[in-house]
């Protein structure tokens, strides 16, 4: 079975970084959704998703971000993506996700893209 993990880090400036690794597909998407929901319920609105170690994303995996983006943006938050591998980026790009999500080359860029509170 393909391994997947997602861990939430609390950073200054109210930013939550979610580190993804492995395969994000229909089987593991619900894990990510739970983690997102926990962080969201915990008050997180400024997300940075770290794709550095994510090898694969399927349509179901993409769906997870769509579930939260609207609610987060409504409360002046955002979900910023960072450090995608080319193949993962292609999937995002083909679907036109860059219209909806800000995609940054590195986690640092993504974090800095949030204005200071």
């Amino acid at each position: 079975m393909n391994h997947f993990s997602a861990l939430v880090r609390q950073e200054p400036n109210d930013i939550c970084i979610i580190d993804l690794s492995g395969y994000l597909d229909a089987h593991t998407a619900s894990d990510l959704e739970k983690i997102f929901l926990t962080a969201y319920d915990g008050g997180c609105r400024r997300f940075v998703v770290n794709f550095t170690d994510l090898d694969y994303i399927s349509s179901a995996g993409l769906g997870v971000f769509m579930v939260f983006i609207e609610a987060v943006k409504r409360e002046n938050g955002d979900i910023k993506m960072a450090a995608m591998k080319p193949k993962v980026f292609t999937v995002f790009d083909l679907l036109g996700f860059p219209v909806l999500f800000n995609i940054h080359p590195s986690v640092e860029d993504a974090v800095n893209a949030y204005p200071a509170i």
Binding site: A60, L62, M66, L94, L95, G96, F97, V99, L100
Partner: protein, 712 residues
Amino acid sequence: MIRIPEDRTVRRSITTMLVVIGVASTIIRMVAVGLWCVQQGRSIDEVFLVEASLTILSDIAIVCMIGIVVIRIGRPRETLTYEPVASALTTYSVSALALLVFAAIVPDDFDGGRITSLLGVVTSHLVAIGTFAISIGLAGFLATLLLMRRHERTRLYLIVQVIILLGIWLCSTLGSVSPVFTIINVVLTVFGAILMLINTQRLNWLATITMEKKIRLLWLTVCALFASIVLSVMHVSSVDAYVTESAASFVRSGAILPSAINFFGFVFFLRFLFAVIAALPNSAIVDRRSSEVESLAHITRLMTAAVSVEHLLNSTTDLALRICRAHGAWMEVDDGDGMQVAAAQLVHPEYVRALHANPTIHELISNGNGPVHVQSLSDLTNDAGDVAVRSMIIIPIYSDHRRMGTLVVFSTVDYGFELDDVRLLTAFGDMVSVALDQARLMEAALTKERLQKEADVARDIQSSLLPRSSPDIRPFNVHAVMIPATEVGGDYFDYIRFADGTQGVIIADVAGKGIPAALYMATLKGAVLAEMRVSAGPADLLRRVNETLFGSMEKHSYISLTCVQFSIISCSLRIARAGHTPAICRVGSELKIIQPRGVAIGIVPPRTFNSAIEEVEVSVGLGDICLLTTDGVTERRDPDMEEIGMDTVADMVRRTVSLQATDLVQETLDVVERHARGADPHDDITIVGIVVSEACATDADSDRMEPTGIAT
């Protein structure tokens, strides 16, 4: 040996015949006796011929009675237990007592063996017939009962007994000749009685019937005992008794026969009575055992009848409560979030929770490895004083080697249970374990079946949505296939017609699988069919479709879609893309990856979507081709999970010499499957092949228009 006919109707007609003959001979005898005794005023034994004729008539009647009894109860039955025995005893006692009462109230019209009135003739015959009928019936019943529970000598003894009976009769007849015969008679009677005692064996079935039935049988036996002794003694001791006189006038010295039979009956009933009394003390054990067996059988039946686990647990706790005479019983089952009370009898789940608050009790209930028998709770803990529970049995229940639950029965008195109870409840626990295992497997099977059914439904929806044939769009030659994965993916293609009448094709991939994906597909088809009639072109159509579907879709779902419009006049393809896999085209000798900007449907609101979408026009000529696919094609994996990738497919498009769309599609499939090397497809595969198979009308006189906005 005479065989009793198997056929019921034959038996019935023989019985009827015997009844008719018996009644007829009795009536004839009554008439004859009336004429001879009442009218002529003479005694029966005055003339030998008269007496002989009358005896023949009564013998016929008696033989008929014997025949009826043999046919009625001579049929071998499978079992002869409580019910038939009790009903026979009742019939015997009631009819015997009724006969005695009847004989007591009718006037005695005998005058030294001579009947003096016509009424006397009738009543004496009735009484005699009754006496013989009851006695012969009793003999039949005894014979059947003994034969049913026979041992090797039963039949022999019975035959001897019949011979003794005849001997007694003979001696009684000859009693007036010599007193020796009277002595022989007594000896024979005693011998017959002893034989009866010896023959009456195998009464241990009495032990297995319940207490209630034993008591009832006891009373019935006492009644029968009384009836038999009265009938027996009356015939011997009182010569003047009406019963005796009637019988004697019916058959010479005939009274001795009913007397002897009833005496043997008396002996039997006495023996039977002692057997019943002897069987009384073990009734409690028998009751207990039989209810144990019944309850286990009941649980087994419930298990095979596929009732819900809840029902089974309720029945089990209820049976446990009743059989162990407990004051409360409950069953805890682990539902994933810890132990929950799944069934409770005479105890509220809240009370069970309160009991768990006591650490000693909680420990006992939750952590025992095997059955626990708490004889007295106060022996174990001092702080259980406020708890009504005094003794309990705790049976852990395992399923699939995992502790799945606990069966608990408790009593409010110390030492409320026996070791037997523990044994029985352990058996209950085993049954419940099996039932839980069964339920688990059943649920897994049902889930699998449901998923399979769901997949079938989804596949049906999907295939019913797809067009069956390709339209004629010359000079364009178009062909499309969709090959479903094991699990329905959500691929879709369709041929459309825009507002201006031009034709087009769409290819789409609904994110998600199964029925939800199939339903979105259906929704998409509806939206496309509705909007295409008013759409100017591909981008316009996609805008409208997004407008229709955005907001009505679930947040995590979206549809990627590419729409191609065939322009015959300008000999071009107009292509718009909503997040879909790019189109791969070969125009002239140039390979183009056509990827106009556009977001998948259902992701962003119309404003964003509309500003993002772009439409490109690709001018084409004879021999040019375009291939539209879903990601099931480009992401087709080999057994090592390696994807085929866009490049391999593009390479194939560059090299192909296919001139027909069907060939192009087939070639694409071949390339993809060659890569997959037999691996199961994890997603639907959809391919739309477009080939310009004829020269365009405008081909000769116009330069190719350069496509706009192409990303390579």
